[in-house]
């Protein structure tokens, strides 16, 4: 109950855990590129063995970055309902779409085959892997580094008139304000609770009541967000921010040997995941 209002504790996005490890010191461009490659490989890898390798790889990353594993595990908690719902749907309906595999159970349109069971297990593990590897990325990279890296990686898109810089600014601001609004919301919940408000105490099926309970928080929060946005605009313009203007950068990244090595490890891991034959 005492933790009822400690919202900031449960938000891992944008939380940076400086341990000074090798992974922390990587050039964000290369780190991000390696991350994208590995995530794509994980998404395409549908074998048991491949996913086992990927899981081991993720754990190795935690060890390398000296981030306690429970950070990754706490990142999984909010995703558990999704994993379960996804798993149930796949278990019940995938067998009807996919061909092949042994049929274990069949009733009306529900068909459970060895293929669907495999899919359920593999996609759950994949989910966990992606959460793990994303946690390592965000916990080892500050948000400024992350957006700088992203901006640099996307810069070729400027050729096709994609507003890369604006995009990066939007992402930076959005991520920057997650903890701020979490704190603001925490304060609001406490203030309204002091006036007798209750949150999340109604039965879960009384959706209307539970939504109405949130009004005393949501409405002031919107207000605060608007005020903050206006202040931010003024603050940015006061410091000569001009949308679309060419801007130089304060940080210049120069890749070192370890950055190439990291990219190479990423590509290697991805290749291993992709060449593991499917039946395994």
């Amino acid at each position: 109950m005492a933790g009822e209002f400690e919202l900031t504790r449960n938000i891992t996005i944008g939380q940076y855990l400086p341990t000074g490890s090798v992974i922390h010191r990587l050039d964000p461009r290369y780190k991000l590129a390696a991350y994208v490659i590995i995530v794509i490989a994980i998404a395409m890898c549908s074998s048991y063995l491949g996913n086992l390798v990927a899981l081991a790889f993720c754990l190795w990353l935690f060890w390398q970055s000296r981030i306690p594993i429970h950070y990754g595990i706490s990142g999984i908690k909010p995703a558990v309902p999704f994993i379960i719902i996804l798993g149930v749907l796949q278990l019940l309906f995938y067998g009807g779409i996919a061909t092949g595999g042994t049929v274990y159970f069949e009733y009306a349109f529900v068909k459970i085959t060895s293929a669907s069971i495999k899919l359920v297990i593999v996609s759950a593990v994949r989910f966990v892997e992606i959460i793990f590897i994303s946690s390592v990325l965000t916990l080892s990279t500050s948000t400024t580094q992350l957006t700088h890296g992203m901006e640099r990686l996307l810069s070729p898109l400027e050729k096709v008139k994609f507003p890369v810089h604006t995009f990066a600014v939007v992402i930076t601001i959005a991520v920057r304000f997650v903890p701020t609004f979490a704190m603001e919301m925490e304060k609001m919940m406490k203030a309204q609770a002091s006036r007798g408000a209750e949150f999340g105490t109604g039965e879960w099926w009384r959706i209307v009541k539970r939504t109405k309970d949130m009004f005393p928080i949501i409405i002031p929060l919107f207000n605060v967000a608007m005020t903050r946005a206006e202040d931010l605009i003024l603050a940015m313009e006061a410091r000569c921010y001009t949308p679309g203007a060419a801007r130089s950068a304060y940080n210049h990244y120069r890749a070192a040997a370890r950055d190439y090595a990291a990219l190479a490890v990423g590509i290697l891991a991805a290749l291993i995941l992709l060449i593991v034959p499917d039946p395994l």
Partner: protein, 289 residues
């Protein structure tokens, strides 16, 4: 002496417990407030003031140590938090942010309605609370909240907490960010609530003039501990404490200390404006008291 209305003993609190970011905000705090008293808590940002006052209405529960309010121990497992929050009204910093209803009256009525009171009683309590903070019920109840000035919004928010009829009113920097006129008005209202309505008031402030004006007793906090407590006269008269914790003092005290340093025979703890004036007059040559 009978049991104080609010008693805190050896209170500790740690944020983000069990994570690498954990930090202890309170290291064993002791304090009390008697019925009808006005108690000020002063100290720097990060000294634990806000964490402390959040224990008074059960937003934070004691991790170790004891908080007893009106005979109710907050550590007991079967604590009725709702009852507690009815007894202790907590007004946060910038409370005007928390207004969410379209009309002033509705917003003030939110708390009493949440308590499930019948309509007539809600109206009565809203009226009482609004008049107390100096808002005319008839005139203001149907005004739109967003069209009010900052000072008025804050009064509405204060009324929203008072409408719960608390026994203890806890305020976190009640006048921060207000213009001088609203500040003066609000302080007068708080003083009225304390002196005339016998409401026990506990407030956090950085403004020593406010502390001098309102408080019966002062607690100085630093680094999660109460480092000093006493009447304003004792605190402002204790120069070493003021300097060590950079607590600041009202201008009257500052001037008297400066005179004292130049060798004038004044009592620096005369913090009330009239007293300070007398002290200064007493050392002016050629003027006899």
């Amino acid at each position: 002496m009978s049991q104080p209305l609010l008693q805190v003993k050896g209170l500790r609190h740690t944020y983000m417990r069990g994570t690498p970011l954990e930090h202890t905000a309170l290291h064993g705090v002791d304090m009390y407030a008697n019925k009808g008293e006005c108690v000020a808590i002063i100290g720097h940002t990060g000294s634990g003031k806000s964490t402390l006052i959040q224990h008074f209405n059960g937003l934070q529960l004691p991790e170790s140590g004891q908080v007893v309010i009106d005979g109710v121990d907050l550590s007991q497992p079967k604590l009725n938090v709702k009852e507690l929050r009815k007894k202790v009204g907590l007004v946060f910093q910038n409370p005007e942010d928390q207004l969410f209803e379209k009309l002033v009256g509705d917003d003030v009525a939110y708390g009493p309605f949440k308590q499930g009171l019948p309509l007539e009683q809600v109206v009565e309590q809203v009226k009482w609370a609004m008049e107390l903070v100096g808002l005319s019920f008839e005139e203001m109840k149907d005004r739109a909240t967003y069209a009010l000035s900052g000072g008025q919004k804050r009064k509405v928010a204060l009324a929203g907490v008072l409408a719960l009829r608390p026994k203890i009113l806890v305020l976190d920097e009640p006048t921060a960010g207000l213009d001088p006129k609203s500040r003066k008005e609000l302080l007068e209202r708080i003083r009225y609530l304390n002196r005339q309505e016998q409401l026990t008031v506990i407030f956090v402030s950085h403004n020593m003039e406010e502390v001098a004006y309102l408080a019966d007793r002062v607690y100085v906090m630093a680094g999660g501990c109460v480092v000093c407590s006493g009447t304003p006269r004792e605190i402002f008269g204790n120069r070493s404490v003021l300097e060590e914790h950079q607590a600041g003092a009202p201008e009257t005290v500052e001037i008297l200390y400066r005179l004292y340093d130049r060798g004038f025979d004044v009592k620096p703890d005369a913090f009330l404006v009239e007293e300070a004036a007398q002290e200064i007059l007493s050392v002016l040559p050629g003027i006899r008291r």
